[in-house]
Amino acid sequence: MDREQLKLDIKVQIIKYLNLLDYNPEDIKDDMPLFGDKGLELDSIDSLELIVMLEREYNIKINNPADGRKILKDINNMADYIIEVNYKNK
């Protein structure tokens, strides 16, 4: 899967896992903040949901929730991290 495809896939999964009823994948911009007052406005429970999503869908384990927040900053960061981990594993 190339980077663009991966990013689209992440968006689809986020919408599924968080049940974002009023979002389509194209509504989530690659550099849109996922947490905080702007962007998707997700909260701490969502971050735990996304950590589970990374494990179930991309086989990536994050043991420290604080690391999770950095990786889950936006779609770009998530895609980079998934690619990096997959590269290392190869």
């Binding site: 909260d43 701490s44 429970i45 735990l48 589970v52 929730p65």
Partner: protein, 401 residues
């Protein structure tokens, strides 16, 4: 209208009855260990406060051999209930009277049978024994049936403040004159359901919990049950009274589903309301049995709340969850009974495993067993998910000795 505690019953990981609980508290013996009876993937990974008796022994002890569908939650609650009514010398007639309320609490109820519930809910079970055992109220109904209790009966579920709220509701029922006495408390038993739930929130500690320590890593889940018999001054006559319930307060933090606000709005308001009902001043509180779960969020915010109310004169405090673990729906009642021990015996129980204070406050809980303490008012705090905050105030009765 004064409300007196005339009986107590308690089962936890540090003792199967009231006396054994006191002994463990005095001797600093923790109940937190790898569980023997609890079946879960996490049994070997985390520490738990497991009650040291198996279900079949409980059934034997309670003389319930022929009953079907009993869960560990039912059995623990019946054990503590029986001890409390014996302690208060309540007759069967008094227990079943329309003037006696029974207010219990639980968060997991019969869902401690997580696998059986899965089978029943998905229609793949080969037994029908447990169909009416799962609800939070199932244990209350079974006790009501056993004693043919006719009066006001209730089960409260406000997550981890549940049994503090059952004590509060029972007290209000007596104060309003609707009943003359109430049996109040709660129960929870170890369950895959709750252990996996708390684990999914990443707030379970792999070590024994260290409430109020800078390096605290989360909570340990415990189990247990506790009931108090509380009676109106009109009916106690010459009974031995253990303590008075002087104050209670509840407030919602209105901040987050599973964590507390940084400025401790709910905690502060619950404490102020309880002090107000008791008709005392913050300075009158001599000791606080804190909620102190050992999670990053709870212990920090609880100290903020104490600062808000007591400024720089925070009374001695400790969390006995370092002995029992977090017994969830039973915690408020178990810790209420520990508060009564403190008043009865003039002793304060230490917060185990504490080393270094949180720098923002530089506040240390009690770490040694303190004897001969002259204490009149003890406050017990309980906080639950969905922002539910409750504080109770127990008062010493002078003529008890």
């Amino acid at each position: 209208m004064n409300i007196y505690v005339t009986g107590i019953g308690c089962v936890s990981s540090i003792g199967n009855n009231v006396i054994d609980n006191i002994k463990s508290l005095r001797e600093k013996i923790t109940g937190l260990k790898k569980p023997i009876f609890f079946d879960s993937k996490y049994a070997s990974e985390f520490y738990f406060g497991e009650v040291n008796i198996d279900n079949s022994s409980l059934i034997k002890e309670l003389g319930l051999k022929n009953e079907k569908g009993l869960t560990r939650t039912d059995l623990l609650s019946m054990k503590a209930f029986d001890e409390a009514v014996r302690c208060a010398n309540l007759s069967e007639k008094e227990i079943s009277s329309i003037d006696t309320a029974f207010i219990s609490a639980s968060t997991v109820g019969g869902m401690c049978m997580t696998d059986q519930l899965y089978n029943d809910a998905n229609l793949i079970s080969n037994t029908k024994d447990f169909l009416s055992s799962y609800s939070c109220s199932a244990h209350t109904m079974k006790i009501c049936k056993k004693y043919q209790m006719k009066g006001i009966s209730d089960t409260i579920n406000t997550a981890c403040s549940s049994s503090a709220n059952s004590i509060m509701f029972g007290s209000k029922l007596i104060r309003s004159g609707l009943v003359k006495r109430a049996i109040v408390g709660g129960v929870d038993s170890l369950a895959k359901y709750t252990v996996n739930g708390f684990n999914s929130l990443q707030i379970l500690s792999k070590d024994r919990c260290t409430p109020f320590d800078i390096n605290r890593k989360g909570l340990n889940i415990g189990e247990g049950a506790a009931y108090l018999i509380i009676e109106s001054e009109d009916v106690i006559k010459d009974k031995t009274c253990l303590a008075k319930i002087s104050g209670y307060g509840n407030s919602n933090d209105a901040f987050h589903a599973s964590s507390m606000s940084d400025n401790a709005i709910g905690i502060t308001k619950a404490i102020i309301n309880a002090i107000d009902i008791a008709g005392i001043k913050p300075d009158d509180i001599d000791y606080i049995n804190a909620h102190g779960t050992g999670t990053l969020n709870n212990d920090f915010v609880e100290l903020v709340g104490l600062k808000n109310v007591f400024n720089n004169n925070i009374p001695p405090f400790s969390s006995t969850k370092s002995y029992t673990g977090h017994t969830l729906g039973a915690a408020g009642a178990i810790e209420g009974i520990y508060s009564i021990f403190s008043l009865l015996h003039g002793e304060l129980y230490p917060n185990l495993n504490f080393k270094t204070p949180i720098p923002d406050f530089n506040l240390s809980p009690i770490t040694k067993n303190i004897q001969n303490a002259n204490i009149k008012f003890v406050m017990s705090n309980s906080y639950g998910f969905s922002g539910n905050c409750t504080s109770l105030i127990f008062e010493r009765i002078n003529n008890v000795y």
